[in-house]
Symmetry: C2
Subunit: 229 residues, 2 copies
């Protein structure tokens, strides 16, 4: 029996690595997709490559997309990444690291690839618990995208199947994601979360992403291999 | 009073040129967006530049996006463009020139730009009458995208406004679009519709797009300046 295919968005972070491990665990033949969208640092893409390889994807594509041309985020522009914020500050409003419409764009392109692959399953490691500031990480957004996918595509319209956007992490805390990832064999030493790494590519340990990651590992009672590199 | 901004998708074809003219006519300050997505020919982008300039946009950006990496269409792959088809053939099923999820991708990126510009209005020259084979040109797709836009974005979530996807051509025939464009001062000589131009960049006059265009001009009782170039 041939395996069903899934397209998995892999950013290089620990969430998407765990989402990929879940897709594999669920029996899908995995196609990983990453984006070179004008991030300020390239450690992410290197991490995405390592993670995809070690979790046995069939293919990993990196899509070039110059989101810098439209600006609007500390991740692609010269806006400063906030540091040493407490959780109250992190969860107040939408962070400056928000990239306008990013998940909409990424899912749309993943949908195009899924259609050419004959896949109906997309995996994305969004999470609405620890970091609820991003509008495009919420379940209502995901549901709306799923409806759109079935209207937007030849495959959806012809009724060959129904597209499904899988969000295995959406209700997990960071600690739960880390425990689950470890269980599924994710090598977190290969992942990269920092928004503002040092020139040597090491995590800054002060941005929201580093702080949430450290807290997650502490709560999970595990050591972060990425810090031991 | 400052004008409201709109992001307009401009492909270089006559439909999007007319949509841009409509946006201008409606009083918007227009920001044009085109995509370099691995089309087999570049006349489209040159046409998009000319059209944007002559219709007075504030800015025109071209987004590089290698959709070739995901394949799946005669417009980006080496699949042959069908020629000399009659209308029954054209309207039977989804054409091989369909690019998977293209309008979803284009609208998603336009949405990101709109958000950074503080715009809530997007214009797209889709048309459901003459060429109904594309799933992502239908009103139900547009409505679903509009709902998604308001869930996907900081601007939508914070209720600063409601995103609207304008489709001024959706119910017009090709002849009606041409008449309306002419009325609004579109220079159709600057537009490009052909799926498979000659090496010199002239229209092939045989692909679906050329045939529909020729029929539209004939019905509108106008001469196509692009053929006189």
């Amino acid at each position: 029996m041939t395996k069903k295919r899934a397209v998995v968005l892999v950013s290089g972070g620990l969430d998407s690595a765990t989402a990929l491990a879940e897709a594999r665990q669920a029996g899908f033949e995995c196609y990983a997709m990453s984006f070179n969208y004008g991030q300020r640092h390239h450690q992410e893409l290197e991490a995405a490559r390592k993670v995809s390889r070690s979790l046995g994807v069939v293919k990993h594509v990196v899509i070039d997309l110059n989101l810098r041309a439209i600006g609007g985020s500390a991740l692609t522009d010269d806006i400063e990444v906030p540091k040493h914020r407490d959780e109250a500050k992190m969860s107040a409003g939408i962070p400056v690291t928000y990239v306008p419409a990013r998940n909409t764009v990424f899912l749309a392109i993943a949908l195009g690839w899924a259609e050419t692959l004959g896949a109906f399953d997309l995996f994305i490691g969004v999470n609405a618990v620890d970091y609820s500031g991003y509008p495009d990480c919420r379940p209502e957004f995901i549901k709306a995208f799923e409806s759109l996918a079935n209207l937007a595509t030849q495959a959806g319209v012809e009724g060959k199947g129904r597209f499904r956007i899988h969000t295995p992490l959406i209700e997990l805390t960071k600690a739960q994601i880390i425990r689950r990832g470890a269980e599924l064999g994710v090598d977190f030493g290969q992942t990269h979360s920092c928004y503002d790494p040092t020139p040597e590519g090491r995590p800054c340990r002060a941005c929201d992403s580093c702080l949430l990651r450290a807290k997650g590992f502490a709560e999970a009672g595990l050591t972060d291999a990425a810090l031991a590199r």
